[in-house]
């Protein structure tokens, strides 16, 4: 409370091709990496589960992961009438006071639609400029880019994101064999050059420049994909494999209680 962010913080985004607490069980070293960027001992972390439709189980897992070491909160855009949305006061002031905003996976089109209805697109842009670290896997990665390949639909689709990063993005690159082919086809058809990331890879941007690519598992890759004449060229990025540090054994029961207090339900 009342803690002011240093004005000189550089905008940072960590775009996960997949992974983090929602996908990786014991060792979410990618989450540890993101937390380290805040430079805070006990960072304020807010979760936006919009892309999942604010799924309860997702929110519980977030608190389980972050409540023991962070000031954790979440914003639900679906439960605001029931007093269980996590944060009842002004969305902008709450989000701008965070050290890290963690965007969950799900459907990126539904998420961006809901965000715009509450002006969250503008709020997140301001938060980024003010140096609040932004991160997320899957839809929580795609949303920061100018364009994205969304394959959560039957057919792959070109989606316009918030445009904080002037590239295109493709996630879960190794998860489905057709993904690479589709992304190349879209880039060949005029989608702007961009970055593709496997599950377990995090792309760390400072400002709009790629600073580093890190991975939670050996062999996970990420690529720069761009048009080359009539073809499409793919350049592998240097990916640092993060050493597995056992994540603290979190006390599930107390995290559930913390969540219950947040959402105002009986524990």
């Amino acid at each position: 409370m009342g803690r002011q962010s240093p004005p000189s913080r550089t905008p940072q985004i960590v775009a996960l091709g997949g992974g983090g607490f929602s996908m990786e069980k014991s060792s979410s070293v990618l989450d540890d990496y993101v937390l380290s960027l805040t430079g805070c001992e006990r960072p304020r972390v807010c979760f936006l589960p919009t892309a999942s439709g604010d799924a309860d189980h997702y929110i519980v897992r977030f608190y389980r992961r972050f409540a023991p070491t962070c000031d954790a909160s979440h914003v639900s855009l679906f439960r605001r009438d029931q007093g269980t949305s996590g944060v009842e006061d002004d969305l902008a002031s709450h989000l701008l006071a965070q050290d890290l905003i963690y965007v969950g996976g799900g459907n990126v089109v539904s998420m961006l639609g809901a965000w715009r209805a509450y002006g969250l697109d503008d709020i997140l842009r301001s938060a980024w400029r003010a140096g609040v670290v932004l991160c997320g896997p899957s839809a929580g990665s795609l949303c920061w880019f100018a364009e994205a390949l969304s394959a959560f639909h039957g057919a792959p689709q070109r989606v316009r994101g918030l445009g904080l990063l002037p590239y295109s993005n493709c996630v879960h690159y190794d998860a489905e064999p057709a993904r690479r082919h589709e992304y190349h086809r879209f880039v060949g058809d005029g989608m702007r050059p961009g970055f593709a990331a496997d599950d377990g890879v995090a792309l760390h941007f400072r400002g709009t420049l790629l600073e580093r690519a890190v991975a939670s598992r050996p062999g996970a890759s990420a690529y720069r994909v761009e048009p080359a004449g009539r073809a499409v060229a793919e350049f592998p990025l240097d990916v640092t494999h993060l050493a597995t540090s056992r994540s603290p054994d979190t006390d599930g029961a107390s995290a559930d209680a913390a969540y219950a207090r947040r959402v105002g339900v009986a524990a």
């Binding site: 892309a51 999942s52 439709g53 604010d54 799924a55 855009l77 679906f78 605001r80 009438d81 007093g83 009842e88 799900g106 459907n107 089109v109 539904s110 961006l112 639609g113 809901a114 715009r116 209805a117 509450y118 959560f152 639909h153 039957g154 057919a155």
Partner: protein, 291 residues
């Protein structure tokens, strides 16, 4: 099997919207009267369609739980209500489109009934627009597909309604297929009513209807034709602002009766139930919703 979108427009008078102020499978799990009424509207559409005589298909009903964020609770309640009735029941999740086997347009326009659940009206409209589903729903209405909905799923068809999407009740514009405004849960959430009345008086919303839980309005074209209810004592009113004064007319709903035994709405028997389970499995929709 599924008939492709025809694109044929129905005359205005055969376009049907059924707007519920509350009730249905999410709010009245032990009272199926409103949901059965929705099915009769679907049966009516099937019978009026070409080839809708002797070999008419069962009405196809698609549930849109968007306003709730596609909660499993709503989806399960929908299937619990309609699985054993004479209809083909499916749901459409805009958060889990991976499950979708056909395009949105094919999915929506091959239905006889589109049933929209309650929740956040603001999120509902914003997410529909992001997927261009708003345009598809308007097309569905023009093609005579029955549009039904409760709460946010009822107000969305009007020029405006009263939403609690951000907490306190406030006016919000809808899709505007129906002239006028609607406010819901007049008995269950009385705090909406004064906000609506003030908005109508001040001209921020057009005049319209206020519905208790359990009350539904049937529109054919833009005309309100029937007021029905699943509960004795539930009521509705029409309110207009005339020269800055509110003019209120109380409407007395017809209490719906139970469906006739052996009629088109009677529960299916065990053989049909088993056959249907097999069909669902083969279509890949037998999975637990939301997995």
């Amino acid at each position: 099997m599924s008939h492709p979108p025809t694109g044929a427009e129905t005359p205005l008078a055969r376009r049907v919207i059924f707007a519920m102020g509350g009730g249905g499978f999410t709010m009245e799990p032990s009272n199926p009267l409103l949901d059965d009424y929705v099915l009769t509207l679907g049966v009516e559409r099937v019978r009026a369609s070409p080839g809708g005589g002797l070999h008419a298909h069962e009405p196809r009903i698609l549930f849109l739980p968007t306003a709730s964020g596609d909660t499993n609770a709503q989806i399960n309640a929908f299937h619990a209500r309609f699985a054993d009735r004479h209809c083909v029941a499916e749901h459409l999740s805009l958060f889990r489109l991976r499950d979708l086997r056909r395009s949105l347009a094919e999915t929506v326009l091959s239905q006889d009934i589109l049933y929209v659940g309650g929740g956040s009206m603001r999120n509902l409209l914003a997410i529909w627009r992001a997927h261009n589903l708003d345009r598809l729903l308007i097309r569905a209405w023009r093609e005579g597909i029955v549009l039904a909905g409760i709460s946010a799923g009822a107000m969305c068809w009007f020029q405006g309604g009263i939403t609690r999407s951000s907490g306190p009740p406030e006016p919000l514009a809808g899709l505007g297929l129906l002239a006028g405004s609607l406010t819901v849960h007049a008995d269950g959430e009385p705090e909406r009513l004064p906000v609506w009345l003030a908005a109508v008086r001040e001209g921020r919303l057009p005049g319209g209807w206020s519905l208790d839980d359990g009350v539904g309005l049937l529109f054919r074209g833009e005309q309100m034709k029937r007021v029905v209810s699943s509960r004795p004592g539930a009521s509705a009113q029409r309110v207009d602002a005339i020269a800055g004064e509110l003019v209120r007319h109380r409407l007395t709903p017809e209490l719906l009766g139970a469906p006739v035994a052996g009629g088109p709405l009677a529960t299916i028997d065990d053989d049909v139930r088993e056959l249907r389970a097999v069909h669902r499995m083969r279509r890949g929709i037998a999975r637990e919703p939301g997995s």
